[in-house]
């Protein structure tokens, strides 16, 4: 399972981080960092929650 972020769409409002803090972090530079590019299947549910929380549809699962 691979996390794909469209950084052109991302507006760094950190809703993904709130839903899945172990996978996403928005740092003080204002950019989103993906903490684990290829999380295990056991993280699918939180990743899907992050996908749904993102208001710009910037995250997809590859």
């Amino acid at each position: 399972m691979k996390i794909v972020v469209d950084f052109d769409r991302c507006q760094s409002n950190a809703l993904c981080m709130s839903a899945a803090p172990e996978l996403f972090e928005v740092r003080d530079d204002g950019f989103l960092y993906v903490l684990q590019e290829e999380p295990g299947e056991d993280q699918r549910a939180v990743l899907e929650a992050a996908v749904r929380a993102c208001p710009t549809q910037a995250i997809s699962i590859g």
């Binding site: 507006q11 409002n13 981080m17 709130s18 928005v26 740092r27 204002g30 929380a53 208001p55």
Partner: protein, 411 residues
């Protein structure tokens, strides 16, 4: 009848409606679903309408809610009835009447008809007056926002402020008028409302508060006191009203929104809730037990989350097993992008007695401010302080005390 034989009808094909459909499928519902919406477009997202779509950074195709577009209906196996309006509901007969007098029966119903822009009286016929609620509204306004155009924005709420910022970035000469003495007071309180509104002046956009618009005509607006402001474009951003007229003669309890219980079930005009009917999004008013407060929220995250929750309740009720249901008790959240700042708010400000800036400062333009009611943390405002703000979400979700919040802030 098994749940799989049921027919769920969802009225309103925007964020809440489509999220309800998706949640029903994700949760394993394999019966029929019909999604009815009165806009002819494929479902699209509204926040870009005052931001990136209005500025031309995104196209209409790029703001669709489902990039796979037409496949959506087949992937989710949903019958889409777009460009069709629900005109009335008969709860006893479990039937909706659409325009052209077509009837659609249901076993369960999701009400997701959202809200619409409030208009000012007697201005709809004027070609220079605009609201921003739909894709068509936005495209029409976009065509008028040419460099050098004189734009008056009536209303300094979030949408008005965003439109002002976008119009300014396009080279328009913008003036913002607000009737209340303090902009955004209901959402942010007086101190922070006043502070947030200084963003206009910082960008050279005049904001006038406490001014009443008396009249709008082809040349601009006339204020109480007969002062005239010339404008090529007048954008009216004076709030939204819930779309409940179609429920007027039904058994559904309506009062500034569709009234729901804490689980998103729709209340009847008598006592109790209506079997198999839930509501979500801008149209729904419910009691959020986390805050002990009845609310109707007109923001993106609430529509998305409430729709999912309503779908869960609906399936549990259809299955006759509601024992494990949880009330819908989220920490409300919204954001607004204006000029170069990002405003974000978690929780509530209603009835707050104190606001304290705990991080950053007003001078720097970046801050986190906390809202106290009695001894509780009830809200947190962030201005261009994304990560710091989000750290308060858990505190709000667990009903943290004011001391706990201040301790967290000091860390």
């Amino acid at each position: 009848m098994s749940v799989g034989d049921s027919h769920v009808v969802v009225v309103g094909a925007s964020l809440a409606g489509t999220r309800a459909v998706e949640a029903l499928r994700h949760q394993g519902f394999d019966g029929r679903i019909t999604l009815i919406g009165d806009e002819a477009h494929q479902p699209y997202d509204r926040p870009p309408l005052s931001k990136t779509l209005l500025s031309g950074k995104r196209t209409a195709d790029q703001v669709r809610l489902h990039p796979d577009g037409d496949d959506y209906a087949s992937v989710l196996d949903v019958t889409m009835m777009l460009g069709r309006r629900a005109c009335s509901l008969d709860v006893d007969a479990a039937e909706i009447t659409l325009d052209r007098d077509e009837r659609v029966g249901f076993d369960a119903l999701v009400i997701a008809t959202g809200s619409r822009a409030r208009h000012l009286n007697h201005t709809d016929h004027l070609p220079n007056v605009y609201v921003v609620r739909t894709l068509d509204d936005c495209l029409r306004l976009q065509a008028a926002l040419v460099a050098g155009a004189r734009v008056v924005v009536v209303g300094a709420g979030f949408i008005g402020a965003e439109v002002a910022a976008t119009a300014h970035s396009l080279g328009c000469h913008v003036t913002v008028l607000e009737a209340a003495p303090v902009p955004l007071e209901r959402q942010l309180g007086a101190t922070m409302g006043t502070y947030c509104a200084t963003v206009h002046a910082r960008h050279g956009v005049p904001l006038r508060v406490g001014v009443q618009v008396d009249e709008i005509d082809a040349n601009g607006v006339i204020l109480a006191g007969r002062e005239r402001i010339q404008a090529d474009v007048v954008v009216v951003g004076v709030g939204a009203v819930p779309n409940t007229e179609w429920l007027q003669d039904s058994d559904v309890a309506v009062g500034d929104g569709v009234l729901c219980d804490a689980f998103c079930r729709v209340r009847g005009s008598g006592a109790g809730t209506l079997k198999g009917i839930v509501a979500a999004g801008d149209v729904a008013r419910w009691t959020n037990t986390l805050f002990g407060e009845e609310m109707r929220i007109e923001h993106w995250t609430n529509a998305a989350e409430m729709a999912e929750h309503a779908a869960t309740t609906l399936l549990a009720d259809l299955n006759g097993d509601s024992s494990s249901l949880m009330p819908f008790a989220p920490v409300p959240y919204f954001w607004s992008d204006q000029y170069d700042i990002k405003i974000q708010f978690l929780g509530r400000s209603t009835g707050h007695q104190e606001v304290v800036v705990v991080d950053g400062s007003m001078e720097s333009g970046k801050l986190v401010a906390l809202y106290r009611r009695d001894n509780q943390l009830i809200g947190a405002l962030g201005i261009s302080r994304v990560r710091q703000l989000m750290s308060y979400r858990n505190l709000l979700a667990t009903g943290a005390s004011w001391e706990e919040a201040l301790t967290h802030a000091a860390q």
